[in-house]
């Protein structure tokens, strides 16, 4: 019996698979990650691949401002676009753009935050400078940026970076500062670990959890930024569908009672943002329990 057990243990495939398995078992206890993730992936996939009842960029001038019906589930807007088709179609533009913005912020912000944590006084000054920068209203900044460089999608990403890179930096820096005081960092120093090595081999793994939570929150926030900017006509430009632009297109109809024009894209934003927040919330609990 003992013999077979030993053999079984030895023959069991590498630790990675066991690790994946264990991770999955733990993940299942945090349904928010799975449910939120499922909704987000569903929205994006639908945006790219779902068969839409109407062409989202082909208006039908004979059917403008129709209330939701069997023919037009979410109704039509003032130009005759089918709102259902456009609400779904917008997901393939807005969500990936928000994700790109958040991920680039992560990639830029985390190393900068780690470096700022090691620089003492200089790091402190950098953070203060960023505070000043951040105090500037984003919308004004973005409008100015677009005026100067032209209305391009990368400017939207840039706007997201301006908001989120300092947030990542501040988060990682404060976490790193408290990690620096820990005994194991001192132990690492005592075995002759270089500063760079300490930063990336000892600190970085310790901030992974918290940065993943922040990435999810940053994506949710980026969705709102994208919607706000496209409401102002920055970023995604018609006829391409974007939730913010759709809300803007319907804003005037609010007063005349055609509520569906703004409501459905608004629900689109709400659903996506809520999903990312749900993921963030569960990730937080997940890492809090399993990490430290």
């Amino acid at each position: 019996m003992t013999d077979t057990e030993t053999t079984a243990t030895l023959a069991s495939p590498g630790p990675q698979i066991g690790g994946l398995r264990a991770t999955w078992d733990r993940l299942r206890r945090y349904p928010g990650i799975l449910v939120g993730g499922f909704i987000i992936v569903g929205l994006v996939l639908a945006g790219f691949f779902a068969p839409l009842p109407y062409d989202p960029i082909e208006p039908n001038v004979f059917e403008i401002l129709q209330a939701p019906s069997a023919a037009h589930w979410f109704g039509t807007d003032v130009i005759g676009f089918d709102i259902f088709s456009r609400t779904i179609d917008a997901a393939q533009r807005d969500i990936p753009l928000a994700l790109i913005g958040a991920l680039v912020s992560l990639v830029v912000g985390v190393p900068l935050g780690l470096v700022a944590s090691a620089k003492g006084k200089a790091g402190e000054r950098i953070m203060r400078a960023l505070d000043v920068f951040q105090a500037f209203p984003l919308i004004v900044l973005s409008v100015a940026l677009v005026t100067v460089t032209g209305n391009e999608l990368r400017n939207v990403v840039f706007a997201i970076l301006i908001i989120n890179v300092p947030r990542f930096m501040r988060l990682v820096r404060s976490e790193a500062l408290s990690l620096r005081e820990s005994r194991f960092m001192e132990a690492a120093e005592a075995v002759g670990c270089s500063r760079t090595r300490m930063m990336f081999r000892h600190m970085l793994p310790n901030v992974v959890g918290i940065t993943m939570v922040q990435t999810s929150l940053a994506t949710a926030h980026a969705l709102i930024v994208i919607a706000s900017l496209s409401f102002l006509g920055i970023g995604v430009t018609p006829p391409d569908a974007s939730w913010g632009a759709m809300i803007q297109a319907g804003a005037r109809q609010m007063a005349t009672g055609e509520w569906w024009v703004v409501t459905f894209p608004g629900l689109g934003v709400l659903l996506a943002v809520a999903s990312f927040n749900m993921v963030a919330d569960s990730l937080d609990a997940f890492f809090d329990r399993s990490g430290r």
């Binding site: 630790p15 820990s182 005994r183 194991f184 001192e186 132990a187 690492a188 120093e189 005592a190 075995v191 002759g192 670990c193 270089s194 090595r197 081999r201 000892h202 793994p205 310790n206 990490g291 430290r292």
Partner: protein, 342 residues
Amino acid sequence: MTAQHDGRSAATDAPALRVAGLTTEFVTRRGVVHAVNDVSFTVGRGDIVGIVGESGCGKSATVRSIMGLIRSPGRVVGGSAEMGDHDLLQLSRRDLRKIRGAQIGFVAQNPFGSLNPILNIRRQFHNVVNSHRSASREETYELGLSMLRSVGIAGPERVLDGYAHELSGGMAQRVVIALALSLDPALVIADEPTTALDVTVQRQILDLISGLVKQDDRSMLLVTHDLGVVAQYCDQVVVMYAGKVVEAGPVAEVFTRPLMPYTLDLLEAIPRRGASLRNLRGRVPDLINYPTGCPYKTRCRFAFDRCLDEVPALRPIGDGRAVACHLNVHEEVPELASIGSG
């Protein structure tokens, strides 16, 4: 272990570590804390030297200064710590980094604190070795296995793939010792290595570490507040009080014939069966408003007028012993002379 390691080969009579005039201060809002004051001692090659004293007497600050681990607001303001040809206190960050770990192994008080909580043990071996030379994962894994075996861990494979929180206190400290010794350092500095552990495993850990030190002809600086540990494991003892060395010498000599009243008081405070528990009256002086004269004067039962304003220097008195006290104790105080028999 043959004479292949530079820390152990050159000039066999040179000590493993020679600390002289070490002084460390912490600048706080209340004033300057004189944590380490003109501390000098020598760790002979192959010796285990114990540093003893009450809490807050500068033991840890001393070894941290030697290791270059004093952080702001603390700073080492003077002295030297010579190891081979290097003065550790004068080395650049970079050169010091090459010595730490490779030539000095450091074992800290709390093993769980010393291990990175979210890296598995295998990764931590990898990190230690790769801080000094580039080594493959396979190579560091093999090294980890053999090091863990040498500290008496059965089933090292499982430990290597595990994390710190999965280990018991004794196991974790064994892992820390294995990590500290993995680059074969000539000198081991252990800062109260068993204080955080269960009493039952303290002895095992001390047996282990002193065995490994002796077996490979290393030297060790062992910080402790337990005189029993010093008596059992150390060759030399350095007694510290208020950031100063007040007595130093071979353990057998110092413990049977203490020359400084503080050492005597410490020895008498060891709990003994059948005897009522004695404790030291008073407390360690304020290290900010450092007292004039002998720092022990307020607690010393033999203090006389000279102790009030004249600082006793640490003076060598032969037999490798040194003491900082104004008494010519054996002539003047028969109690001290007779402690060995009592």
